[in-house]
């Protein structure tokens, strides 16, 4: 459900950024104007009073903010700082830390074959999730958009979101059970339709496990992404669509020439969310295979966990964390830049 968070960031992050840059946003009445009024009124205060007055004036406000700031400091900022700091050390809980410079990072790419393997795996998973988060929701959203009856539409929207509220752990365990070698439903299904030779221990075969893991979750419809895309489609001006129909555009032409460019902002949001979620993916792997068999399904996030808590290499684990953080940052920035140019 971290995914929900990130779409909200996508939405309101844009508003906040625009506000700071002083741009006019889509909802100026909601965010921009009253804020500007407050600031203008107060700016004279700033000019009138000295620094000491302003510090004393600010204290009561910080008193109210204190619980928030204290909690964030202890449980978020300090850990984030520690993560970066420890990535340059060899260290475990309760032991003195030894400065090793960038050795942790060098070792990751030169000596750690499991880590390199995990990069390949996370690459596979990320490419698939990026497809699953953008193309499939677009197709399903177009299907729902084509439905004229409002009542059906309403129920379809609820039907899309309903599977998304099943707890992740339940979904992962169900799929582990479906793939099971002896009692699994997939094998039972293959046997029932006469493909007995295809049955196997899906998550136990090092060559197949990563693919079985990646393609779990059939039929791969992401309800939240679908609704975001659908919202984009519904916001398209109806006259544009009508005139395209009058001009004799087929449905496919309309989708390709009109719909996709017009909902590109939504697709991009889904894409960025997919990148953020899939690079740090590890819970599904932990529940379904624990990274096995023989580490063939290892992903960086899970390798971080094993290094920290099983092998007691917390410094090395922190370095992996920093690597994941930087990768997410770079990929997000890159995808936003690439697709902005493409649209223009």
């Amino acid at each position: 459900m971290g995914l929900l968070k990130s779409w909200l960031v996508g939405r309101f992050g844009g508003v906040a950024a625009g506000q700071q840059a002083g741009q006019t946003e889509e909802r100026p009445s909601a965010a921009g104007q009253p804020q500007a009024g407050v600031l203008a009124g107060q700016r004279s205060d700033r000019a009138r009073h000295g620094l000491r007055w302003r510090v004393r004036h600010a204290l009561p406000y910080y008193a109210v903010l204190l619980p928030t700031l204290l909690g964030l400091l202890v449980f978020d900022y300090y850990p984030a700082f520690l993560a970066v700091y420890h990535s340059f050390f060899e260290w475990d809980i309760g032991l003195p830390a030894t400065w090793v410079g960038i050795d942790n990072f060098v070792r990751m790419f030169t000596q750690d074959r499991t880590f390199l393997r995990s990069l390949r795996n996370v690459g596979i998973i990320t490419v698939w999730i990026m497809f699953q988060a953008t193309v499939i929701p677009l197709v399903v959203a177009e299907l729902i958009f084509a439905v004229k009856s409002m009542r059906w539409k309403y129920w379809f929207r609820i039907g899309m979101i309903l599977p998304a509220i099943i707890p992740g752990i339940v979904v992962f365990l169900l799929w582990r059970f479906i793939y099971d070698g002896s009692v699994g439903l997939l094998n039972a299904f293959l046997t029932a339709i006469g493909l007995e030779s295809w049955t196997r221990v899906w998550l136990g075969d090092p060559r197949i496990a990563i693919w079985a893991l990646t393609f779990s979750g059939f039929p791969w419809v992401n309800g939240v992404n679908t609704l975001i895309t659908l919202a984009g489609l519904q916001n398209i001006n109806g006259e544009i669509l009508e005139s395209s129909e009058l001009d004799g555009a087929s449905r496919l032409q309309r989708i390709w020439r009109l719909d996709i460019p017009l909902v590109f902002g939504q697709i991009k949001l889904n894409l960025v969310r997919a990148i953020i979620a899939s690079i740090q993916i590890f819970e599904v792997v932990f529940v379904m295979t624990e990274g096995g068999p023989i580490k063939s399904t290892m992903v960086p996030g899970l390798w971080l966990y094993y290094n920290a808590f099983n092998y007691h290499r917390m410094g090395y684990a922190s370095a992996i964390g920093v690597f994941i953080f930087v990768t997410i940052l770079l990929l997000t920035l890159a995808s936003m830049r690439i697709f902005r140019e493409e649209r223009a």
Partner: protein
Amino acid sequence: MSTAQAAGSALVEGRKWPRIIRYWVRHWPIPVIIVLIVLMMVPMLLALFIAAKSRAQFDFNPWGLTFPLYYHQTFPAAWRVVSQSILNSVIVSTVSCIGVLFFGSLSAYVFARFDFLGKDTVFVIILSLLMIPAILTLVPRFVVVHKLGLFQTMWALLLPYIAAGQVMAVFLMRTFFVSIPSEYFESARIDGASEFRCFWNIALPLSKHIAGVVAILQVLGTWNDIFWPYLTIGTKKELFTIPVALLIFNDQLGQQIGTQMAGYIIASLPLVLLFAFTSRLFVEGLTAGGLKL
């Protein structure tokens, strides 16, 4: 005579496609979407069916419903295993939700309504947390919790959840508070209301919807979190949350597949119930438009 006529007219009608078929050909997306939604629900439906099976029934036929139903055995057995952890999850989700709403809305109000030294800087610093992936801080946060002596207590869950949840809450609620016309507050102040009353009696009641969104996010996030409770609760059974309990007991239950499935369903029910009451808010929040980059 009349029956023959009726039969005859039916035959004439039959030359064209029956109306019902023509209707569905024209509205083909509807059945396609229905099939998709059913496919999306298949794992859950199978779990519901398998929960009714004894082991022998399952070995004989894993599909569909088989009779007699054994719900009266599997559900109580699963309930005995997960009841404590359901209670724990309810406590963790509720308390952290209240904490986030309380502290988050207070801070958001301060950020939205007042100007003071360093406000913008502090706000941007808080928002910057949204860019830090959870995986980066997982290990050091565990170290912090350990050092504070919170290991294997419920505080190890509550405090970090409340702290982290506030980032989103402050963000969303500040955006909303800013949009309330300042005349509301000014006239209240003129009538002699304290700043806290402005917050409590004007700002909060108006922000019911956005508070609902924040609450849903927080409940979903904490209810579904697998790894943090797995790390910090460790082996202390009586503090297990639902995901940890399912993960651990899944291996212990091993061959009792029906009971396992019943456990999955019980674990999903509270969220399904919550969703039943809030689906409108949820779906509208997602489809109101404007979500894009």
